[in-house]
Structures are given as structure tokens and as C-alpha cells.
Amino acid sequence: MTERGRTSYGCPPTRIAWHWTILLAVPMVLLTAMTMTQGQPLPKELRLLIPLIVSFVFLNAMFILMLRSGRIDQFRSPVFILYALGLVMMFIPNMLEVRGTVAIGAEEIVQGKVPFCHMVIPMTIIPAAFTRTIIFPGSMLEGFASIGTMLVLWLVVSIVLGRGWCSWVCFYGGLDEGFSRILRTPLIRRISPTLRYVPFAVLLVIVLLSAVYLTPTYCEWLCPYKSVTEFAAVTDARTLIQTVIFVALFVGLVIILPILTGKRTQCGLFCPMGAFQSFTNKVNIFGIRIDKDKCIQCGACIKACPTLSLDQTCLEKGSPRMTCSKCGRCVDVCKFGAVSMQIKGTPPGHPNLGRVLFVYPAFLVMAIMGGSMIQQGLYRIILLVTTGSLVGGS
């Protein structure tokens, strides 16, 4: 099934022969065609047709290259980044069209019109257990991103991918990932390993505060992504302080620090949802395996890991820390074929089988969710170019 690729030294990643690649890609092509068109005939309007075709071709090209090359992150990352940008491009104009502003007013809150976001999930668990209510101003079943829908999505993805959520599904993660890739050589190279525990501390604090006040504390005070989605209308000193915090955290954690460190600092050093999601890695079938016989301890994977999930101890132990988001970068950078995606409970020696079985469901979720975001983001850009405005159109 595999053939040797060309690299300058050591073992290259194992490629998959073209005929196998095509055969494996066909179901993904059909599934993405089905989900992106939603079973409807192709739109006649060019402004809708072009984004659909471009995103369809882009997604499948990335998937085919991922299968063929033996690499994961190299072809995951562009999709993940565009997915996040697509969300921002789609969300803001959409909110402007629906409610005339991106600010959430008391009206939206009392009417349960705020889209539910996975970031809230850790904060809802204790209140849900004690009061059987969800502490969020959304709708259980109706409207865009209802609570029920997002909970089902999160449950299934957590079972299937664990913290793979953070490199394949989270619609925000691509933002700090994008900024972390701007500089080839990071300006800050040393990050204290102790900082890896900060997300767990943030998680503990916000979970407890949310339980005490029965309100999603992180969303109210700390979420950097409010800056690029929606936040409470600034009406008093409290909402002004909240907005300043959102913007400061976004600029610091999602833009500046990722550029300077080359790491996903929001995801690896702050996000409580990421910390929470790490626990789901424990019950998940897919994981990274480091073959101690092949590993020459060069440390390339440690340097490359965007979430600081690898260190010397991991190389000795043969697996990353529980915070691994299964981005696959360590698999790609290891020139000695020592790092692979594995299925827990299976013997080593079949790197491509583990990789294909993992990337299939992972890419499928990303394509279903990200495909529509990229498509809608592209549509907004075309709208901007053709009409001079991001809102309006069909």
C-alpha cells in the first residue's frame, strides 16, 4: 500500500500509492459533495456557485494530498485556518443582517437568541447536574447553533477524536494557529513548562465561579473570541471593562504571542475548554505513538508541537501529554518515522493504517463544519468585491 517518498535524510513519511489514494478519496469526495450542496441542485447564481466549487475543490485537494503524502498537519492546517477565518467572515455580516449589530442586547438574551458555543460546555456541567438547567441564554432546540445540537456534536466528536476537537473542529482554533505560522523562526523560543498548567487553573476557577453564580463566567469576562464574534452591548462601566478584556486577550493571546512564539498560545496556555477537552483524550481510541527504537531524541517534534504537549519525558514514555490536540505536526516533522498516529490497543508497525483511520473521521467533521464556513466566507468576500458591502445579497 505504501511507497517510499524522497527526503534528504532519515526515513521519509510513508506515502500511499496513487491508486489507493484515489480509491480512499472517492467516499470523501462524495460525502463532501453531499454535505456542501445539502442534496440540492447547484445554485445558478455565480456569487453562490463559485464559493461552493472553490471550497469543494480546495477541501478535497487537501484531503487527497494528505492521504498521498503521508503527512497530516501540512494539509490540515490550511483548512483549519480558513475555517476559522470563514467563521469570522460569515458570523459578523450574518449578525448585522439578522439583528443590525454584533452586540448582544438584553432582547437577545431574554429571547434565547444567542448561538451556543462549545466554550460554555465545561461551565454548564455542575449547574446542569444540580438544577437540570443550562446556564446560557440560547435555545435548547431552535435557531442557529442550538444548545441541543452543539451538545450532541461535542459528545460525538469527543468520543471519536478526543482533544482532536482543538485541531480539527473548533471554529476558533484556526485563528491563533494562523498567527502562529506567520514567522518561520519564532522570536521567543523558551516558554516555561509550568505555563502549561494555566488552562487547567482557568478551567477550575471558571467552573467553580459559574456554578456559584449560575452564569457562564468565561463568556462574560474572559473569552478572547468575543472580539471577533459577538459581545454584550457596551451600556455601562461593567460592559466596557468586559469589552476591553476581550480585545486585550484577543490581541495578546491570539495575535501577538502566537506570532512571537510560533505556538498556539490561546489554546495551549489559556483556553479552559482545551484543558477540559484534554480529559477526553483518555477515553479516545486515537493517539500519537513515539517509537523509542526509531527516535534519535533530536527534539524536532518537541520544538514543533504548537500546544507544548511534548517534552523529553514524552520521548522516553513514547506518547505525548494528555493535552495533545492530534494536529499531526510531530508526525510530519519527524524525519525518522518515529512518530505516528496510532489506534490504542493495536500493535505498532502500521503507521498508515492508523493515520488513515484517524484522518478520515477527523477530516470529515472539519469538512462538514469548515466547508460551509469557508464557502460562506468566500461568498462574503465576493459580495464585498461586487457590491462594496459585506451585508445584503441573496
Binding site: T35, G112, T131, L214, I343, G345
Partner: protein, 152 residues
């Protein structure tokens, strides 16, 4: 034993794709199933709580929600009751004036007057649990008022 574990692991990995597909294809059904089986609801702090009484008037209706004193381990010392006024044909009369018995014990708890053009609210507490009104929320066809209460 090792082989059984290996077969189970591969089977589980292979099942991941159908599981993802089934999730997306049947999303409304799964979401409803989850909500029905867990009985989860949006917290009254955000939804206003269940509507326990609707009173019809000429041109509008008044909806009284269940008073909420939600706390993590049981009722809190303070809470609120939410009252909604919904216009039937798009607009309200100039003044809404109403006596509210939110706990339905036969005694009026407070009287409320709303100037619908200016959204000015005058609330007169007639029973000791009533503390004060929160700012009126006005949306097309609807006025929403929360009144803070002491838990009797």
C-alpha cells in the same frame, strides 16, 4: 485476549466515520432525544422561567412566569418574577395598567403601569417580597419586565 482487543480497537476506529455521518444526518433527532431524555432546560435566569398564566386583554396579553429563586443547591434568598406583555396586532395601548398576583394566592402582589410610548414603568409593591423592578426590555410586539423578589 490481545487479538480481541486489537479487533475491537480497529472496529471502533472504523466505526468512527459512520458515527460522524449518522450524527450530522440525524442531528435534529439526536438533539431532541438528548434534550428529552435529560430534561434539560435553559436556566430561568436567562429564559425567564415557565409561563404559568396568560391573561388575554383587548389588543394584548399578559404572561406571568413562574417566580425563580434559582441557586445551585436550592432556592436563594432573592429571585425574580418575569412578566411579558405581548401585543396581538403589533401595537400596545398607550398605557398598560395591571394588578399582578404572581403567586396566585388571591392577593395582589404589585401594581404596574407602563407608558408604552416612553417605556416608563411605575411599580407599586403591595406585598413585602417585592423588591424593585429591573429595566424594562422592549422589543417589537413585546415588553418584558423582571421584578426582583425576596424569597418568602
Amino acid at each position: 485476549m490481545k487479538n480481541i482487543r486489537m479487533i475491537m480497537a480497529y472496529s471502533w476506529a472504523v466505526l468512527a466515520v459512520p458515527l460522524i455521518l449518522a450524527t450530522f444526518l440525524g442531528m435534529p433527532t439526536w438533539a431532541r432525544f438528548l434534550v428529552d431524555t435529560t430534561g434539560l432546560k435553559v436556566a430561568p435566569k436567562f429564559s425567564g422561567g415557565e409561563v404559568i398564566r396568560t391573561i388575554e386583554y383587548q389588543g394584548y396579553s399578559t404572561r406571568i412566569h413562574e417566580p425563580s429563586f434559582d441557586g445551585l443547591f436550592g432556592p436563594c434568598k432573592q429571585g425574580f418574577v418575569q412578566i411579558d406583555w405581548k401585543a396581538n396586532a403589533g401595537s400596545f395601548p398607550e398605557t398598560i395598567s395591571e394588578m399582578i398576583d404572581y403567586d396566585q394566592n388571591g392577593t395582589v402582589d404589585f401594581s404596574v403601569v407602563i407608558q408604552t410610548q416612553t417605556d416608563q414603568v411605575t411599580l407599586k409593591a403591595l406585598d413585602s417580597p417585592v423588591i424593585a423592578p429591573e429595566p424594562l426590555i422592549s422589543i417589537p410586539d413585546m415588553k418584558i419586565l423582571r421584578i426582583r423578589l425576596r424569597n418568602p
